[in-house]
Symmetry: C2
Subunit: 370 residues, 2 copies
């Protein structure tokens, strides 16, 4: 049996097309340098564009920023926690943090009223970010529907730097609302480089691999915004944004993890007892009978329990490795493993939820300051 890399549940080849066809680069060369961060060490962050700019900025003590967006709909779950962990890690690295609540997008594309989006952004997202460790210091948080005018100007200006056909190639059939959503996202990513925020600087956007088309479009528009006009100035001097790409967590039942399907995820506000139950009925990589599993072993690569360990619940590689090999060898059975996972999850949720009330207050203060 090939000694599978226990830190990489999904083979990188799943994502290989992005690298071979679209110029995304492997994160491998940074893995050792930043191996204190679980997602990097375990190859969950597997790709990047222009990450060297961020490394250099940090190295030369120059300002750099992280930009991320959140779609205020549904529960804040363990998949969102992964992004939150990344934001917090970059903040600890020294990045200024720009977080956008995409309430215009949720209104335009999902019919979510602004008041509801605002409530979700506050109660679910911002509060959880803070409880997970995001500091309000150097944090810029805004709603797409309610912000500064340079931001809207930048968005409108970017409309001149993209053709209809380019957009259609990425987004398929276009509507006026979809065009507005796309351009707003471009402005979200570029505006940390506005003069008001200190001008051009490296900005990293941590995303799932499926978000790469947005990144590519924004990088193209940035280059065009940065091009000199006849009078020798750029319309907006800026640096094409960098990006890191992570793999996705699967849903508990094996499919996609989705905010709108409670069976597929565990929310960070979830009742710990209910969370434990979800774990006990999650999909594993086990065999159909105990006897068979004892004989041939389980498949952690296909196990949702193992994914929870890998992404969130077990930070110690040795401990994780032990589980991996005991599962493979048939020594560790699914029932016992699930119970273990459920206990870890319960512990995490209880501790996290204790931090929520204070985090909520902090989150409210951040929104009031706006």
């Amino acid at each position: 049996m090939k000694d599978f890399d226990p830190w990489a549940v999904k083979e990188i080849s799943d994502y290989g097309k992005l690298m071979s066809d679209f110029g995304m680069e492997s994160f491998e060369k940074y893995r050792e340098k930043y191996d204190s961060f679980r997602y990097i060490r375990r190859g969950i962050i597997f790709g990047h564009r222009d990450f060297q700019r961020i490394v250099d900025a940090k190295g030369h003590r120059k300002p750099f920023a992280l930009m991320t967006g959140l779609m205020p709909s549904g529960d804040f779950h363990m998949g969102h926690k992964m992004v939150a962990d990344e934001i917090i890690w970059f903040q600890e690295m020294g990045a200024d943090i720009f977080v956008c609540a995409a309430d215009m997008e949720s209104y335009l594309m999902r019919d979510i009223p602004f008041e509801e989006a605002r409530k979700i952004a506050l109660e679910e997202y911002l509060t959880n970010y803070i409880a997970l460790g995001l500091s309000p210091k150097n944090l810029h948080f805004w709603f797409q529907s309610d912000y500064i005018n340079e931001y809207y100007r930048l968005r409108d200006m970017s409309s001149k730097r993209v053709t209809f056909n380019e957009m259609q190639a990425i987004y398929g059939e276009l509507t006026p609302a979809k065009i507005i959503s796309v351009l707003t996202q471009v402005a979200d990513i570029l505006h940390p480089q506005l003069e008001r925020f200190g001008g051009p600087k490296p900005v990293v956007v941590p995303v799932g691999a499926d978000q790469d088309p947005h990144i590519r479009l924004t990088r193209d528009i940035a280059s065009r915004m940065n091009a000199e006009r006849e009078d020798g100035r750029a319309d907006m001097p800026c640096i094409p944004p960098s990006a890191t790409y992570h793999k996705f967590m699967s849903g508990l039942t094996g499919g996609k993890m989705s905010s709108s399907d409670p069976k597929s995820h565990i929310a960070l506000s979830e009742d710990p007892t209910r969370a434990k139950k979800k774990i006990m009925s999650a999909k594993t990589g086990g065999c159909s009978t105990v006897e068979e599993q004892k004989k041939v072993g389980g498949e952690p690569e296909k196990c949702m329990i193992y994914e929870l360990y890998l992404y969130h619940l077990i930070d110690d590689d040795l401990e994780l490795s032990k589980i991996y090999h005991e599962c493979k060898s048939g020594k560790l059975l699914c029932g016992e493993d699930k119970t273990h996972c459920a206990q870890l999850m319960e512990k995490f949720l209880v501790e996290h939820q204790k931090k929520m009330p204070k985090a909520r207050e902090t989150a409210e203060r951040i929104l009031e300051k706006k």
Copy 2:
């Protein structure tokens, strides 16, 4: 010889298709009521949509507003003066005045840098409006690129109320920049009805007949914005805007009057001597020889000099009628008539330009207050 209506240079039939096919209504029923206003009395304002709302608001002493946009490019000329006169007339009627400098549109569609647009909007448009009699009281003046966030939100929301095909039917081939321009114009027209400005109210937009497609689109979007959501509220309660439609002045040389063609227009900042020269070489409705004209008479309906009288230089109907009939009968010849017109124009420009420095100061104060 049919006694032609001397107040209507172009037959209403030129515009008949708009009325028969697109539901524009004739302004005829309001002509007597508002005959103190030259453009109405003379049928230059010939059509409308929902003007009764404005009449009723005024009658019941309810708030109503006028909205107009300006494209900050080129000279402010006698064609723009017509719109300015309309704005001022509505202000005297009691309308709150909303004037939008379409600097985003001029940037997106005509490549005019924002700084240049700002300069033109101040020095040409706003200053001339003030010098012509616009009061800074109840005047809201804004730049599309630099305004309040409810305005941008409204624009984005309207993107959801129009299909791609509807836009294409009006504007032909679409680009992202054109879509932004169109939606910005919709927000320009609707936003006087934002809560911040007192909520829904009748708003009149005085435009040339060629602008009717924008008006129709905005009225459609307004109806859809006003439709109730599931929760019984409207996304933005508002009243579809009213409009008045005026005929166009021709250019001095007979074609279109254009900001970018100095031969076609007289700017309000023009050197009066140069303006006189332009008038002396303007196209008239005269014959090729004096002898012929004395015999068959001139055609004021085709005469640019007569248009200048009709729109701007002669407010007294009797005086204008005399010129009309003397021209028709061959008594008044083009040379004499041009000299007369040149004198009136010189007088107007000299007096107007005296008011400019003070008007400029007022205009600057208005922009500073923003």
